[in-house]
């Protein structure tokens, strides 16, 4: 297929058009992704998540620029950015505004930024973000930063997709009780307190550190694969024997960094921690495990969608409406409606 071949040759317009095909889940997009799949699995996928306004886009901007100009005796690396913003639940439209903070990256052919609307997905990413990331991976971008929608507490899909997840906090957003709740803080491989020049940065860091000290003993048994397969709903976790390499020095304790993205403070240190996490993943075999978990999660998602659309194709509107009507009139319960629709009982 021409599109996939052009993408591999580095044609940026072909890549942009392919991303649209993937986003719209067209047969062309699927076919091209199939062709590109053998070329994927090279990139380091870095997730960036956190509440709205904590500075995710600004940090991505600075990090990307740093990777392009890393200083002496380091080669610049090609950076892909996928930035997701929410779609309106009413109109389906969206304002994708992450590029506003990424002006510094203009004019550099080693960078490719793509904005995506969430299109109804609730986990912080769009349904097709994984496919878009695969295309960028195949196109030779070595680092791919995936910025989620401004996330609250439970938008944790990014941990399934990324190798390294940064959770961005800002001073003044919550106390130590917020910090021990389940959810977004748990998925952090690296915690970043951005806007660290603001009052309260120290106490935010202290709350996060307290959270880590409390969570650490539990985390140790679960390790990353346990955490991630928990997320992937019903996924069977690895046997406990796997954690035999549970040596103290092999444990990853999420570091906490302070940054001021607007002033470019703390960026090299952050990049260094990301690199250290990459090396950790490689050394412990966690990289491979995360890849497996991610592909399994992707397979499950695609399987669900395929089964659902196959089922819809076999269902007539009139029959569906009839069952729905029975349900609305409370003649049958929701569960009875489901079994009627699925098992073809009389409605």
């Amino acid at each position: 297929m021409i599109l996939a071949a052009s993408v591999l040759e580095g044609d940026r317009l072909a890549l942009a058009r392919l991303l649209t095909q993937i986003e719209n889940d067209t047969p062309e997009g699927r076919a091209a992704l199939g062709e590109l799949f053998p070329h994927t699995g090279q990139a380091h996928l870095i997730g960036v998540t956190g509440a709205p306004g904590t500075g995710k886009s600004s940090l991505v901007n600075r990090l990307a620029r740093y990777y392009r100009q890393p200083g002496e005796d380091q080669a610049p690396r090609r950076v892909g950015v996928v930035a997701v913003d929410p779609s309106s639940p009413f109109s389906g439209g969206a304002i994708l505004g992450d590029r506003v903070r990424m002006r510094d990256l203009a004019g550099d052919p080693g960078i490719f930024i793509r904005s995506m609307a969430s299109r109804g997905s609730l986990g912080g990413l769009a349904r097709t973000t994984a496919g878009v990331v695969q295309a960028l991976d195949a196109a030779g971008f070595e680092l791919i930063m995936i910025e989620t929608v401004g996330a609250g507490q439970a938008e944790v899909d990014i941990a399934r997709l990324a190798h390294t997840t940064l959770v961005i906090e800002a001073p003044g957003l919550g106390d130590d009780i917020q910090a021990i709740k389940a959810g977004i803080l748990e998925i952090a491989d690296i915690l970043v307190v951005n806007k660290a020049d603001r009052p309260g940065a120290k106490s935010t860091e202290r709350a996060l550190r307290g959270m880590l000290q409390l969570a650490h003993p539990i985390r140790r048994e679960f390790q990353h694969h346990g955490l991630v397969s928990q997320l992937s709903r019903g996924g069977d976790s690895q046997p406990p024997a796997e954690s035999s390499q549970d040596d103290e020095e092999l444990l990853w304790i999420p570091p906490i960094l302070q940054t001021v993205a607007t002033e470019d403070t703390g960026i090299p240190e952050l990049a260094q921690e990301i690199e250290r996490h990459y090396e950790y993943l490689q050394a412990t075999g966690d990289w491979q495990r995360r890849e497996e978990t991610r592909l399994k999660a992707e397979l499950e998602q695609l399987l669900q969608e395929a089964l659902l659309s196959r089922w819809w194709a076999s269902m007539t509107q009139s029959r569906y409406q009839a069952v729905l009507q029975n349900l609305v009139e409370r003649e049958i319960s929701p569960w009875e409606a489901v079994s009627t629709l699925l098992d073809g009982g009389e409605s």
Binding site: A94, L96, R99, F112, R119, S309, W312
Partner: protein
């Protein structure tokens, strides 16, 4: 269900080239397009034509809206059109909003601009025009 999600969305880049700092018009138009179900990539102030063309390419947009209040439209618009064409994106529709003297409107349209909208234009009007320009062009299904 999944058929609905597969529908093509109209993607529009809304950008403000040049040096004036008045972005209210651009934001109003971006919001109107959003409310009409389009995906609007908003790039903010002080964009060069090069930045605009690069964003249009990476985002694979169907249309580009330029908000210009500085009077520099006769320099900026042709440059954007030229760069889009050089990138292989001559099918992208370009529309202009802001302060454009009447005598410049036909000249801009001759260059290939799909619409020029001054103060007082109804946003519904812009939304309808953008939709017609994009769908008439590619024959893609409606938003």
């Amino acid at each position: 269900m999944s058929a609905m999600q597969q529908q093509k969305k109209i993607r529009v880049l809304v950008a403000k080239p040049g040096l004036d700092g008045h972005d209210r018009g651009a934001k109003v138009v971006a919001r109107a397009l959003r409310d009409a179900g389009m995906e609007v990539i908003y790039t903010g102030l002080r964009q060069t034509p090069e930045m605009i063309a690069e964003s249009a390419l990476q985002e694979d947009v169907d249309a580009v809206g330029l908000s210009i209040l500085s009077g520099a439209h006769m320099a900026l618009v042709p440059r954007v059109l030229e760069l889009l064409k050089a990138n292989g994106q001559e099918q992208v529709k370009v529309f202009v909003g802001g302060i454009v003297p009447d005598q410049d409107v036909p000249r801009l349209k001759e260059m290939g601009v799909s619409g020029v909208y001054g103060p007082g234009t109804l946003t519904d009007h812009i939304v309808r025009d953008v939709r017609e320009a994009v769908l008439g062009n590619s024959g893609a299904p409606a938003v």
